[in-house]
Amino acid sequence: MDFEIVFKLIMIVTVFGVSLGTAMYSTLAERKFAAFFQDRIGPDRAGKWGLLQPLADGGKLFSKEEIIPGDANILMFIAGPSLAMLTACMSSAVVPWGTYLEIDGLQLPLIIADINVGILYVFGVVSLGVYGIMIGGWASNNKFSLLGAIRGASQNISYEIAMGLSIIALVLITESLSLKEIAAQQSSFHGMNWYVIKQPLGFLIFLICAFAETNRTPFDLPECEAELVGGYHTEYSSMKLGFYLFAEYINMFVSSAVMATLYFGGYNFPFMNELGLDHNIVAILGVLALFVKILFFIFFFMWVRWTLPRFRYDQLMRLGWQILIPLSIVNIIVTGGFVLFFK
């Protein structure tokens, strides 16, 4: 019993550290990939291949002057980035990183909190994330920040609907809301029973909505440098700005993990049970497989960012309400029909 608690603590610290570390190096990867997509080299001065660049950026942000505008609501101004960071770090708790490790006859699941409504938890926490943007933008007492905050709020609310509807079609198949259960279901058929095959349209809608939820290009209207100076974080400086930017990368990591778990088999990889290896080794390989999928999605996020231009606000709303929501409802009906008649 004691060892299980110690293992849980190790898991929490590891997951926290890994998600922060991945987010940290995502900032470097973003700059590197941006450069590569534009035929440049990117930062390569700090350390080998610029590997120390995130530390330099962090050090710079920490040592910058902290400015709180005179007319800002100080309490809310500080609460904004804290909330954004908090909610970004919370949602990785329910992601199953692997099956379980077996040590001394003890089965240690590689998941922090196996709650049976894992999907709802993720949705709840992700919807809280918009409060960080809203509070920060409102507290700045600046018209650009406020516009960015309003955009962020309306965008997140609009796309959450389509996202939720696309998940309902998935839940019709899985008959479970637990992420652990959904990941385990995808291990059949040589570890290739991925739900993206059964739900391609649902995945596409989820993917588009994930871009909108994480405020990534082509849906980065809340920050939108071209129109709104810096959007909701116009007035922010020093590490508070760093928190906002960092929270975006953590969100990207978490939504990549959720996408990989829901649609791309999570920790399952092809022929995982035919290898004839020890269970623990397969479990660790599974964790690595999940990580490869997550890194691919993070790359995909950046790939799209450096390819597509930003949507106009009315285009964004039209896409969300007039295309994605009807499409996901059609997807639910079709999926429901299949489940009803062929199962």
């Binding site: 590569f36 080299i41 390819t307 597509l308």
Partner: protein, 182 residues
């Protein structure tokens, strides 16, 4: 009259279904960016790798020596006269006996200063010089300093260290010849 061969008649046609859902266009766009991801990069890692200068490049001035290592400048002042930015000043002095190996003719520039803040690198001094003593051939890029005083270059910075036979084309110090090929 047709101004270009690439003009296209604008057609206000309805978009087809595949155009309206944007996905084919997005995929082809992402294929383009992915192609660029693996292309050779155009960046030159500057301090380590330097680009070859053009033959007509006008850099920082060099006061030349002749084949015996004596300074060619006779302080005639034509360069200063021709300088549109009035960047050049000099003080002439008479060569003493025993200094023949230092100065080519009886008169030489005791002080020769170019204010790099004023110089516009037009090359008129080079053209005016009757003794082929000054060339804008040093390959030091953009003399940047932290104060104004040190940007008035004296003879210590301008006179070439030793005679360079083909110095009419290329002078100054030896350049690290790690050039970028791409």
């Amino acid at each position: 009259m047709k101004l270009t061969t690439r003009s296209k008649m604008v057609v206000n046609k309805q978009m087809t279904f595949s155009e309206r859902i944007y996905l084919p266009a997005i995929i082809s766009g992402m294929a383009v960016t992915l192609k660029h991801f693996f292309m050779p990069k155009v960046t030159i890692r500057y301090p380590e790798v330097k680009r070859k200068f053009a033959a007509v490049y006008r850099g920082v001035h060099v006061l030349k020596r002749d084949e015996n290592g004596a300074e060619r400048c006779t302080a005639c002042g034509l360069c200063a006269l021709s300088c549109p930015a009035e960047a050049i000043t000099m003080t002439a002095a008479e060569r003493k006996t025993g200094e023949e190996h230092l100065y080519r003719e009886e008169k030489y520039a005791e002080v020769y200063e170019i204010n790099m803040l004023r110089c516009i690198f037009c090359g008129l001094c080079e053209e005016a010089c009757p003794k082929e003593a000054i060339f804008l051939t040093s390959e030091e890029i953009a003399p940047a300093r932290f104060d104004r005083k040190s940007l008035v270059f004296g003879k210590d910075k301008l006179v070439e260290k030793e005679h360079h036979p083909n110095g009419k084309v290329r002078g100054g110090g030896p350049l690290e010849e790690r050039l970028y090929h791409g």
